[in-house]
Amino acid sequence: MRKIIRLFLVIGLAIFSSSALAADTKVFNVYTDANSPDNHYIASGYMGDYADVSMDNKSMSNPNSGSTCIKVVYSAKKTQGQGWVGIYWQNPPNNWGSKKGGFDLTGMTKLSFWMKGEKGGEIIDKVVVGGIKGLYPDSSEIAFGPFKLTDSWKEYTVNLAGKDLSYISGGFSWIINSDSNPQGSIFYIDDVKFIADTTVKPETKKQEEMPFYVYSDRGAMQNHFIASGYMGDTSDIKTDLGSVENPYSGSTCIKIEYNNNISYGARWAGVYWQNPANNWGGIDGGLDLSKATKITFWARGEKGNERIEEFKVGGILGEYSDSDSAGIGPVILTKEWKQYTIDLTGKDVSYILGGFCWSTNIDVNPDGIVFYLDEIKYE
């Protein structure tokens, strides 16, 4: 009987130590040095244009501490046609939620990591903790970014206080895109760790300052929301966020082509700019834009007389819903740039996931249309 109890204790201890962390654990390393026994998670989850990136996790090129750091070389060639790339540190390796393997990081209040760029000015789209879906989904997804690297080591921290970290199989990931880094980039990562710092308190949503851009120029740091929410006949839409065809201001504008193939039989199409990308209300990603009284944008049609049924902000409804919605339309575009305004007076824009949206249909544009947008901003 004693033997059996002892066996249970051993098994129990083994299970506990492999998947759960004691609440008083102060630091939980993801990467300190190559081959460090303290490392957790494996950099196995390649996403997007995975052939555009090479990563050396034993680089001895001036690490922040210890003897090695991680060196990433990104070519921005869009080899897989995605325009972005990212890598997840997973447990076990290559686990996209099909296997059980998350760590219980309860008690950790922040992620700390160090980064630097080869030249400085490299833009990291975001760093993410958690967010793996599948059969065994992570209990949270916390994103941080975009941010611009300097040419010397700098510590970045992500506030995790108050988040449900009870099951995290995707411990750390970074994403970079070709719009922000059209020539590619080289950057370094070191000392990635979770820390239980009791002085860190849960972040309250801050009111964003105005003007607050949805789009100013391709890859601009001040851009917010991602043009990810394709609707209706999605295959009939082509979006170029870096069109140089007569932008209203800066060096680029957005060119949208909507053809009349009616690929999925919907007879309409539209795109939402979302936060984070592809968020249809499943993620707590709303931004507080309460200081805005309007959103303005510039638009023109390639020929003139293109009809957009609606330009809109907010209106995404899901587990997390936009706090309100406002729109204008139908709008008949002119060949010349013209500014449009959506009045937000009296609207509750304290929680906005869907920062901007357009939609139209084939019945009012039987031959399809090409139109342009620029300088989309909350004011």
Binding site: G281, L317, G318, E319, S321, D324, G346, D348
Partner: protein, 417 residues
């Protein structure tokens, strides 16, 4: 003779003052329903001077195998008798009818039975010709006159029924302004080039018409308010300009668990009391392909929590909500394929529309997740009981029954979380 007439007239006047109007058949008093405006645009519905919270349900008890043209008003099986009892037990105090039936005596019996037997009052609707063929030409004088006459005839016929709570004009008719549903126009509107101005003009024409009818109703029936049934809050800013005679704005809202900013939003758009005329959640999960009573119960409870938070008595909310009517009492098996009689006896799990606010099953292929035949808080069984489809009470029935017993307990509990 003149003196006798004068004495009789005087006596009648005193009688009327002392004794409010009584219904001839039942002896029950005609209800006096008013809106009380409080500070900060908070509103209360008063029934015979007492606050009344509308705990309502949309009632259209189409049996299995029948479709929209089934006339329940004249059904000798009297489904409202068994349904009214179940409603009363649950805590429902109001039903919403979309439009009166053809036989006034039958309609009066239904309204009267529900009220006299169970204390359930009636919100009586009128489509305002929205489904007429050809399209509802709200700018056409003859069309307007016909619709107006039909509404006023209804009011004259039923205004003295003690069970009447108020009149509801229209049901999402504003979705026609953009031309996407039941499109209509006029030469004047067609002459407008700007499509936005066209929509605004249709709204102006329609809401002016609603206002005209509301004014006439007030002359005929000073005892019952007039509500307007709007799809979402679309174009209510124009209603504010041209429809001051409307007493209550009622909205049909399908925003999932939350009504969002509607309470505050309405204050900005059209300062009137708000009643949620239709809302709810279907009990079928299109993604897992099975009935899901838990989700329906959860969504409905969350929706009612918001309604109670925004009643006039609750200081923390906007205070402009009068209550709501759940869509709907029983499932309707004809709705998914309304033109296929064979399908009316089948509980279809198909869907014709998509709504991300009902996120639990939005991932179904094609995202069509709104299962029209599964919105009832009461399911129907093909098995008959006294000639009627047996009523099977869903979880939401019991959840709301408990909620209405102590609604503020639930709100307090939510706050603590």
């Amino acid at each position: 003779m003149k003196r006798i007439s004068a004495i009789l007239a005087g006596g009648l006047l005193i009688f009327c003052i002392l004794f409010p109007v009584c219904h001839a058949a039942t002896g029950l008093k005609v209800t006096k329903v008013t809106i009380k405006k409080l500070k900060d645009s908070r509103y209360q519905l008063l029934v015979n001077n007492k606050p009344y919270i509308i705990k309502g349900v949309c009632y259209n008890p189409v049996p299995i195998g029948e479709s929209h043209d089934y006339d329940f008003w004249s059904d000798p099986l009297q489904p409202w008798i068994i349904d009214g009892k179940l409603m009363k037990d649950m805590g429902i105090n109001t039903v919403r009818f979309y439009q009166v039936g053809e036989n006034p005596e039958a309609v009066k019996k239904v309204i009267g039975d529900l009220y006299s037997l169970y204390g359930i009052r009636t919100m009586m609707g009128h489509w305002l010709g929205f489904w007429n063929y050809p399209a509802p030409f709200y700018g056409d004088a003859d069309f307007r006159e016909n619709v107006k006459k039909s509404v006023l005839d209804m009011v004259r016929e039923y205004k003295d029924e003690p069970g009447i709570l108020f009149w509801v004009l229209g049901n999402e008719n504003n979705y026609s302004f953009s031309g996407k549903l039941n499109p209509w126009s006029s030469a004047e509107i067609d002459a407008i080039e700007d499509p936005v101005a066209q929509i605004s003009e249709r709204a102006r024409v329609y809401y002016s018409f609603v206002n005209e009818i509301a004014e006439e109703i007030h002359k005929i029936d000073p005892n019952h308010p007039v509500a307007m049934g709007n799809g979402e809050m679309i174009t209510l800013d124009i209603a504010r300009e041209v429809a001051p005679a409307v007493d209550i704005v009622t909205c049909l809202i399908y925003r999932g668990r939350s009504f969002g900013n509607i309470f505050k939003g309405l204050k900005n758009m059209f300062d009137r009391p708000l009643m949620l005329l239709e809302f709810g959640c279907d009990a079928y999960n299109a993604y897992t392909k099975q009935e899901d009573q838990d989700v329906q119960a959860k969504f409905l409870e969350d929706q009612w929590v918001q309604i109670y938070k925004n009643l006039a008595v609750n200081k923390t909310g906007e205070g402009n909500c009068l209550g709501g009517a759940i869509f709907e009492w029983t499932d309707e098996w004809w709705k998914n394929k309304e033109h296929d009689p064979d399908s009316w006896s089948v509980h279809d799990t198909g869907s014709n529309w998509s709504n991300g606010a009902y996120y639990f099953d939005i991932k179904v292929e094609g995202n069509k997740n709104m299962n029209e035949e599964w919105f009832g808080i009461v399911a129907l069984s093909p098995e008959l009981e006294n000639g009627l489809n047996k009523r099977i009470l869903r979880k939401s029935y019991f959840t709301l029954k408990e909620f209405w017993k102590k609604p503020y307990d639930k709100i307090k509990k939510d706050k603590k979380k």
